[in-house]
Symmetry: C2
Subunit: 180 residues, 2 copies
């Protein structure tokens, strides 16, 4: 099976109920329901505008618990926006990886493993919405960023993952990606 | 979104611990973990030879709780084997549908909905193994069936599904299939 090796640069937690912005931590425990204490934790979640086949608010299986972005693509978004950096925290990312071009294009069904410890399933691209643009505009003080974020982040905003094997994910871990 | 309409002909339960063979019932309750009382129930299950990226026995997310077969493909398997019928029970099926050609080729990610009530996610083809062939040989008394089953059932043995929306599935329900 074809595979690739990535590095986990940092891990983050969204444990402030007032925002989706994450904060850097040393490690994150990961269960089938996601990261305990994180705002996206839960085996079920309400259907939203992305799941048009269900009435909005219907409780459905949650397969978007873990947001993973890449250092290379964060730098590309920053360059596109004319900023020195775009921090993973501002995107609400839980995991920052490095070492793969076009990380966001990883196909659904790919597996991301820390061998002998943890396994995630790629559920596809995390489609950009405007909220991180608002955060970046506020954090950087650069006017007009919010309006340009969605376009700059398309196909660069990382992926969402569900959990296949429970365990602990740490900054510094090596991540093996298996293609479907 | 492209869709198709199927009929649910019958539903089944594998609640005899001594066998994977199912028995016909009027309805099956379906939770995120599968069908309570069914042998494939559980949010987690041990990895087997199909998940080579994990050591055998590692507990991983269970996405194979519900087995769905089609009446048309059961008839094709029977014809290939020279039998009057192949019953869904012998394949360990939980759901028998009718009304779609090449049902087994439904792509992973397709949704099977009883609107306003239940939602399943197609996780792909249920690859034939030899055990149902043994059952069919024993049930029909036809020698040599077991050896020929896997080949006859390939791309006709139905799909496995995980659960997106919990609810009750009944014989006679209309099922809407949404393509990914």
């Amino acid at each position: 099976m074809k595979k690739a090796e990535l590095a986990i640069e940092a891990v983050y937690l969204a444990d402030d109920p007032s925002t989706f912005v994450t904060r850097r931590v040393g490690e994150i425990p990961i269960e089938l329901g996601g990261i305990p204490g994180d705002r996206h934790y839960g085996l079920l979640r309400p259907a939203d505008s992305r799941q048009k086949i269900y009435p909005r608010g219907t409780m459905i299986a949650n397969r978007r618990q873990i947001s993973v972005v890449s250092a290379e693509e964060c730098a590309q978004i920053a360059e596109e926006l004319g900023l020195p950096e775009v921090r993973p925290e501002w995107l609400g990312a839980n995991v920052l990886v490095a070492g793969m071009a076009a990380f966001t294009l990883l196909p659904a069904g790919a597996r991301l493993l820390v061998p002998e410890r943890i396994g995630l399933i790629c559920e596809g691209e995390n489609l950009p919405c405007k909220h991180p643009g608002d955060v970046i505009e506020r954090e950087t003080g650069e006017a007009g960023i919010a309006a340009r974020f969605v376009r700059a982040a398309k196909r660069r905003r990382g992926i969402v993952c569900s959990v296949e094997r429970e365990g602990v994910l740490r900054a510094g871990d090596a991540l093996t990606v298996f293609y479907p």
